[in-house]
């Protein structure tokens, strides 16, 4: 792995790193056709795996590549395997059994919608073709890819890519052999194919379908003209089709999703606790007027009160879900208006955090960035812990997404430590405090940690978040190690967290330092879209995110005095930084491409 990562590091910032691939000249035209910046990045990523691959004996992993789904745990092993095979697959395929592959591919293919014609075009003269063609009334990108391997790559590859993003498959067919090897996704099965048990294939296919399904939610991948899947396997979940052919429609569809999710949030059935609470309240409160320490309600108000006090409701009629949700909303608004809620010393208002920012961010988390969380079990279920993560993305969406991830996976609130800029910006300041953020300073961090909160820190700060795109995934200096001393003083574990995907949301291609100074900002980014497209440029690119929480580093056995030992603090800081950097590299290798 280490050499792999070195390679990556060398190569990361450069462009495609063309020289090192087998196929050296890889025009990756199809991608670039699809989308401006995205194009360059993905192909690079996908190439990376080659380097390590070569060294290793081709190991047929059983899963179809499609099998990379989200089930993280069982896969970690497989994933690594998978990564390498990705490249191998092509090779293998080339080498050997084209024929054998066919059937499996089909199995996979069936679940998917795809284009027949692609296949046809795609598979010039390979043994596998006929079956493939037959099998798939439809083939996706996947199928395309799968076939390509089987066929021995070169010809097929381009289509697969093309298929995913646009129909122009056939053209480049011959163009890039290298890529086909590089990304011949369906990897392994090629070599292994013959003996692969049918179930495995099916399992893989199912997972693939699930994955695809998930991805289909990303509108980038859908093509409106596709017919619905012809013969879906019974157990393959139906992808929900979201037609979107252009950026605009994509944006629309996402907006639709957000709207929908808000809607479902509103129409969701009430949770039972709340209902129970309501009942209790009702039982407890005699039909009196406002029994608070408040002045008596105004005369106008009182009649209403008595009117409302009907007897206890019997079993609720169904259709109650909506009303209840509505009532909750009203109740929420009432409590805000009357000031009837609690905030802690940091200004954190848990009810608000769950009601507003979380609901706003969740669609972004699930559908836009399709965040995949790994190692969530490394976050302690209770007690203080310090989550340390890499920072990137021009706008601190990574912190917000980590917060959502922690909330979703572990049901805990992440207390984010933010820069002072956050707390001096109107509106943002109030939102941040209410959402649980506080200033990144040792007193605050230690106070939160010692009171058993889960604290998230991004020690790279502005250096990390505002670094140019060319330096993506290269960790900057980790502050002054203040976070380590905070953890040491409070004896809480440090959980390293690596976030992949945030770098690509707003690629910084230039900065305007003079204007930034004028505006009092740490940096003023220029992205390919930002000033150019105006507000539209502020829409983050929908990269695919991976957030991996690493094994916690325990500090409880070190005494609080250790915080006074600078050497130890520096060592620990470096260790954590290294851990995160290595994890980033391995995640990058595993990542198929930037956007899926």
């Amino acid at each position: 792995m280490s050499d792999a990562s070195e390679n990556l590091e060398d190569r990361g910032p450069r462009g495609g790193g063309p020289g090192r691939q087998e196929g050296a000249a890889r025009p990756r035209p199809n991608r670039s056709g699809a989308k401006g910046t995205k194009a360059s990045r993905p192909s690079k990523e996908s190439k990376k795996p080659d380097a390590p691959k070569k060294a290793k004996p081709p190991k047929p992993s059983q899963e179809l590549d499609a099998g990379r789904s989200t089930e993280a745990v069982e896969e970690t092993a497989g994933r690594n395997g998978r990564v390498r095979p990705r490249g191998e697959a092509g090779r293998k395929g080339r080498a050997g059994s084209g024929a054998g592959v066919g059937p499996e591919v089909e199995a996979e293919a069936t679940g998917v919608k795809g284009r027949v014609r692609l296949k046809g075009e795609a598979s010039p003269g390979v043994g596998a073709e006929p079956e493939v063609g037959a099998a798939s009334g439809a083939a996706t990108e996947f199928n395309g890819r799968a076939r390509s391997k089987g066929k021995g790559g070169p010809a097929a590859r381009p289509e697969s890519a093309g298929a995913g993003l646009k129909g122009q498959s056939g053209r480049k067919a011959g163009a890039d052999p290298a890529e086909s090897t590089g990304r011949g996704r369906p990897k392994d099965e090629a070599g292994a194919s013959d003996e692969v048990a049918a179930e495995q294939v099916r399992a893989g296919a199912t997972r693939a379908a699930a994955e695809r399904n998930r991805r289909r939610l990303s509108p980038w991948l859908t093509a409106p003209e596709e017919p619905p899947p012809a013969v879906p396997d019974a157990d393959i979940p139906r992808p929900s089709v979201i037609p979107a052919s252009s950026t605009a429609s994509m944006v629309l569809s996402i907006a639709g999703q957000i709207g929908q999710s808000v809607l479902t949030a509103i129409t969701e059935p009430p949770n039972s606790e709340l209902a129970a609470e309501d009942d209790e309240d009702q039982g407890a409160s005699a039909p009196t007027t406002e029994p608070t320490g408040w002045p008596e309600p105004t005369a106008a108000a009182s009649p209403n009160v008595s009117n409302l006090e009907v007897g206890p409701t019997a079993a609720e009629p169904e259709g109650e879900e909506n009303p209840d949700r509505l009532l909750e909303v009203i109740e929420f608004l009432r409590s805000r208006l009357a000031g009837d809620y609690e905030v802690d010393a940091f200004g954190f208002d848990p009810e608000f955090a769950d009601a507003v920012p979380l609901n706003l961010l969740r669609p972004l988390y699930q559908h836009w960035f399709r965040v995949e969380v790994r190692g969530a079990e490394n976050i302690p279920a209770e007690g203080g812990a310090l989550i340390v993560a890499n920072h990137s993305g021009t706008v601190p969406l990574d912190a917000l997404m980590t917060g959502v991830a922690v909330r979703e996976e572990r049901e805990r609130h992440l207390r984010i430590l933010g820069g002072d800029l956050v707390f001096q910006t109107p509106f943002l300041a109030g939102l941040a405090r209410r959402g649980g953020a506080t200033l990144a300073s040792n007193p605050d961090a230690e106070r939160l940690l010692s009171s058993g909160e889960l604290v998230g820190v991004w020690p790279e700060g502005y250096k990390g978040i505002g670094k140019p795109f060319s330096e993506r995934y290269k960790l900057q200096r980790f502050g002054r190690g203040g976070f380590v001393s905070a953890a040491l003083r409070t004896g809480v574990p440090i959980v390293p967290c690596s976030i992949v995907g945030a770098e690509e949301i707003y690629p910084i291609i230039a900065k305007v330092p003079s204007l930034a100074r004028l505006l009092g900002l740490p940096y003023l980014p220029i992205t390919p879209f930002f000033p150019l497209l105006g507000p539209l440029g502020a829409v983050p690119l929908p990269s695919k995110w991976l957030i991996e929480f690493g094994a916690p580093i325990h500090t409880a056995d070190l005494s609080p005095q250790a915080a006074e030992d600078p050497i130890l603090v520096f060592d620990l800081t470096d260790r954590i930084r290294q851990t995160i950097q290595q994890t980033l590299y391995s995640l990058l290798v595993q990542r198929r491409s930037v956007f899926f």
Binding site: D278, D281, Q282, A284, S285, E290, P291, T292, G293, W294, P295, E296, P297, T298, A301, S302, N304, V305, N307, L308, E309, V310, G311, T313, P317, E320, P323, D324, L327, I330, L333, R334, R336, L337, A338, G339, D340, E342, V343, D344, A345, F346, G347, D420, L421, V422, F423, Q424, T425, P426, F427, A429, G430, R433, T438, L439, S441, P443, D444, R447
Partner: protein
């Protein structure tokens, strides 16, 4: 033999109440209240001596009475109560210097208690959420009461260096609220429309006047030394406070806020120094660990209940008062979901009852 306590600033509300209370304490023989004007309130058994702490007369009083405890409460918060900013500064700073100079010459002095304010921390977005006594604000106050208080504390520190045998306790009180006291904060929340700074909802902390008096009593009769933060537990946001007071808020852009402050000042509605406007932007919160452990004060009122008590006793009520809002909500619910109306009926919130 009991103690003799000298209270500077007895004509002011807290000073008067404190003098009355301390005079009734067992172990206290004599209480001398000093101020330039006669106290408008009853100060009980305390004796009133008209004297200006800005001149050396205070030294003679100390000498004659043989006071062993001095409680310095005459730092004035608002220019209007002193007549002008110049007079305010004069009383605050020069008065303190004279008082401390007299204290330094008083051989029988054993204890000095200074009432200071949490405004000495200032407010800034770069400050930690909670101030312990050891922290220094990133943006210390640059004007008005806060700056005066910071200077007063500076002189007090100098004094305690020169007279190490005298125990010095400095209490940094959060904004004091209550049925009787009048401060810029109480004026502020009594405005028909509460101006806020656009886009900011600061955390505020209050101290009920009863607790403030109790804190001073404990500091006077107790053993504690050094600087101690005193505040009610918990925080409320400005939005919450305005809600409790039933006041609509109007957001003012930060650049205009200072202008508004001076306009209010001119109109005699409320006193707002730039530091207070910063407070209304960034808020401030005190760590009160020392208050509990060293001073031994367990405030009867939390920040919230102190504020609610203030609202109730002052009879503040408006269109947005919680009862009105609650009634409105019920009405709305009954319109929308008649069958579910009873469900929303809620028992009084515990904190509302507090």
């Amino acid at each position: 033999m009991g103690r003799t306590v000298l209270v500077a600033g007895v004509a002011r509300y807290l000073g008067g109440r404190f003098a009355r209370l301390i005079a009734e304490q067992p172990g206290v023989d004599r209480v001398i209240g000093v101020d330039v004007i006669a106290p408008p309130h009853d100060i009980g058994r305390a004796e009133f001596v008209r004297a200006d702490i800005r001149n050396s007369m205070i030294g003679r009083i100390l000498e004659q009475t043989g006071a062993d405890t001095v409680v310095h409460m005459s730092v004035i918060a608002t220019p209007s109560s002193a007549g002008s900013r110049t007079a305010q500064k004069e009383i605050n700073v020069i008065g303190t210097m004279q008082l401390l100079a007299a204290c330094q010459r008083a051989p029988r002095l054993r204890r000095l208690v200074v009432k200071s304010t949490s405004a000495v921390y200032g407010s800034s977005p770069r400050d930690p959420a909670m101030f312990t006594e050891a922290l220094v604000g990133k943006h210390p106050p640059r004007s008005g009461w806060g700056k005066d208080s910071a200077e007063v504390e500076e002189y007090v520190r100098g004094f305690s260096r020169r007279r190490p045998d005298v125990e010095v306790a400095t209490l940094r009180l959060a904004n004091v609220l209550g049925p009787g006291i009048r401060t810029s904060m109480t004026d502020y929340f009594s405005l028909p429309v509460v101006p806020t700074v656009l886009g900011f909802d600061p955390r505020l902390q209050f101290l009920h006047e009863d607790d403030a008096i109790e804190a001073l009593r404990l500091a006077t009769l107790g053993e504690c030394q050094g600087v101690i933060n005193v505040a009610g537990d918990g925080v409320i946001t400005l939005g919450q406070a305005a809600g409790f007071a039933g006041r609509p808020t109007v957001a003012v852009v930060p650049q205009l806020a200072e202008l508004m402050g001076s306009i209010y000042h001119r109109g005699g509605l409320a006193d707002f120094s730039p530091d207070q406007i910063r407070y209304l932007r960034f808020g401030r919160c005190l760590d009160t660990t020392r208050m509990r452990e060293d001073l031994g004060l367990d405030p009867k009122y939390t920040t919230r209940s102190a504020f609610q008590d203030f609202v109730r006793t002052r009879g503040l009520r408006g269109f947005f008062s919680p009862p009105v809002v609650n009634a409105l909500e019920r009405q709305l619910v009954s319109r929308l979901r008649p069958q579910a109306a009873t469900q929303t009926r809620r028992t009084p919130r515990p904190e509302a009852a507090r």
